[in-house]
Amino acid sequence: MPIALGKLSPPSDDKRWKIVGATMRRHGFSRNALIETLHTVQQSFGFLDRPSLQYVAQSLRVPLSKAFGVATFYHYFSLKPPGQHTCVVCLGTACYIKGAPQLLGEVEQSLGIAPGETTPDGRVSVLTARCVGSCSLAPVALFDGEVAARLSAKDMQGRLHKWVSA
């Protein structure tokens, strides 16, 4: 049975699905809009889960395995819900030679988690970035999206402590 475009019902009655639907409509429900749509889902919900992948794939008539293949190919997409706060440590070359490994070491020591993980209480997620393009301020990290420049391990400790103890 062919499904009429845009007639599939979303996984829930959450209002944010309207934004996702708008993105798909804007691209005429074209298969080529898969990545654009996944961006909208992640922007709206913070991550991609299986029900949302299934909904997007079926709406755009993309095979399920292809959608999953795309979602896991790109590191910008996350299949896990993010913590309350997110710290992204830049691992660009300039940051690396100016002490990014020490910053990561501090994260592991302070939170007991490795990059890509979230603390068990769901407070803080730690990620790494290939390069955020703020090389002249190296080493940098992003705290909930705000760039912090010329970080020392001590600065890192202080900022994480604020989140954990808040």
Binding site: L53, P63, L64, S65, K66, F68, G69, T72, F73
Partner: protein, 239 residues
């Protein structure tokens, strides 16, 4: 040979004069002439991806090695398919594959029916210089008739292509990237729970190793290699 026919190209492969249609690849032209070039990801009847790099050949006039499976024949081309350099690279590629996951032939369901094993033997591979990585990967036996052992998978994507291009189900694809890549069914769910799989078994037949196999059959018949020529014929008919 008819030099007037514009769609016929003449070239030399390993010193042998070969004529081929303009739309043929170097691999096709060589095999028609009985010259062998090793391949793994290529399969007659499926689209080519140029991924395994075993069919790389030398072409006079360019320093770049060209994959024979996707390189079109050209007039006056001079191709070398066997050289010390090519043999060295092919051996290393095979060694990288043997070391990437787990390929202990003696305990593999495909022992004696495996393309990787044959190629290893044909290239005189007696030992692997690289450390075995042995990632501990899963075996999914949830499907009624078939099973997938990721430890044996070489990511040639023949299963992905046959499922998409011939069966039209597109149950298989690749997830992740780089050394972490793996083949998946649907949303990486157990194969047995796949809604799209038609249980046609083509993926099992085209798999060159023991990664995809039929459950509960005697070792000697886990792969029905007689099926493969029909695959190409079916595709020809479709074109």
């Amino acid at each position: 040979m008819n030099p007037a026919a514009p769609d016929v190209k003449t070239l030399r492969i390993d010193g042998v004069d070969v004529s081929a249609r303009a739309d043929q690849t170097v691999l096709e032209a060589a095999r028609e002439k009985g010259l062998s070039i090793p391949t793994l990801c290529h399969l007659d009847g499926l689209s080519d991806v140029g991924a395994c790099r075993l069919c790389l050949v030398e072409v006079k006039g360019t320093s770049k090695l060209m994959p024979a499976c996707v390189t079109r024949v050209e007039e006056g081309m001079e191709v070398t398919t066997q050289s010390d350099r090519l043999l060295k690279y092919r051996r290393m590629i095979l060694e990288l594959l043997f070391a990437e996951r787990n390929h202990v032939c003696s305990v593999c369901v495909a022992n004696g029916h495996c393309d990787l094993q044959w190629l290893g033997q044909a290239h005189g591979l007696t030992h692997v210089q690289f450390p075995y990585r042995y990632p501990k990967l899963s075996v999914d036996a949830s499907h009624m008739r078939f099973a997938v052992d990721h430890n044996r998978c070489i990511l040639c994507t023949r299963c992905v292509r046959v499922c998409d291009e011939v069966e039209g189900a597109h149950t298989w694809d690749v997830m992740g990237r780089g050394i972490e890549s793996s083949v998946i069914t649907d949303l990486q769910q157990p194969w047995g729970e796949s809604d799209t799989c038609t249980s046609c078994g083509k993926c099992v037949q085209v798999c060159p190793t023991g990664a995809l196999f039929e459950k509960g059959r005697a070792r000697s018949v886990v792969k029905d290699r007689d099926f493969l020529p029909y695959l190409a014929m079916m595709r020809e008919g479709k074109r």
